[in-house]
Symmetry: C2
Subunit: 144 residues, 2 copies
DNA sequence: AGTTAATTGGACAAAATTGTCCGATTTGAT
DNA sequence: ATCAAATCGGACAATTTTGTCCAATTAACT
């Protein structure tokens, strides 16, 4: 499964994106309360998202984090995960074999590979905007 | 993803099952070499599999681990994972939300839930025998 | 200028996972 | 009887992940 760090990253971005308005910024505290996460740890993750240029930050009083509309539209879920975990996500074999492939499959390859592939495609094709606007369907939750 | 411990467990069982013959036993060392894993850690995992009654062990000189034909046929991959990790596997939400469901979905639920469901079904329906006999298709590897 | 509210960066701490070591026990063989 | 080969159990160590704390910096406001 996804690391806690990536989960917090996605949730943070969903919260910030879903509530973004011009001139509005969110503090670490705002985010941590909204997504029910440990503030200091969340702070580190927001810093990583700034470093990855997904969000911007403003220091000082009245400062906080914000995201541009264009980033909401363009940021893919896979990019968020890779910003946190590096490039070594999800391409992995279920059994952890380093060169498992169609030609050289591990025993569960046939079962797992197609699902992994679908998930990768999903994470690649879905953006923050897709998630928060949810195609007009159900509302979603970010807490328990 | 799967824990290392579960990966070693599955690989160990695949090795033992694929090479099982009457009167043949495998030592920790045999298994660790075959699946390229740390011997002492592998030993602990084999102990867990004995406790879960998937394999049996014989102490002393000439001893080792073996698996019965009936266990090869009846042991589902999901049971192996649960023997190692406990019951809290795979039912989880992608974002880690404790009560994510159809009625109360997290933002990625629609994307992830069907895939998770398919994986669960796969792990539930596939046995050691299925994997090692591979429906006559390609051979498989357990090392790198 | 001073105060306050905020991010940033660094070091540190806790917890979980992964991995090691060794003595005790058991069994087979000489 | 002794020795060698094996599992078992417990304590321990290393690594990774998760989480905390605090001083430094920045910016707005009075």
């Amino acid at each position: 499964m996804l690391s806690k760090a990536s989960q917090y990253a996605i949730k943070s971005l969903l919260f910030i994106s879903a509530n973004q308005q011009v001139g509005v910024r969110f503090s670490v505290k705002d985010v941590a309360i909204a997504i029910d996460s440990p503030p200091a740890f969340t702070s580190k993750i927001l810093q990583q998202l700034v470093a990855a240029k997904i969000i911007t930050s403003v220091k000082g009083s009245g400062g906080g984090f914000e995201i541009s509309t264009s980033k909401i539209v363009s940021t893919k879920v896979i990019s968020i995960i890779k910003a946190i975990e590096g490039d070594h996500f999800s391409s992995g074999c279920f059994l952890g074999l380093p060169d498992c492939s169609e030609k050289n499959p591990c025993p569960v390859h046939k079962l797992y590979a197609p699902l992994r592939e679908k998930l990768n495609q999903g994470l690649y094709n879905v953006t923050l905007d897709d998630l928060i606007n949810n195609k007009g369907k159900q509302p979603f939750n970010l807490k328990g």
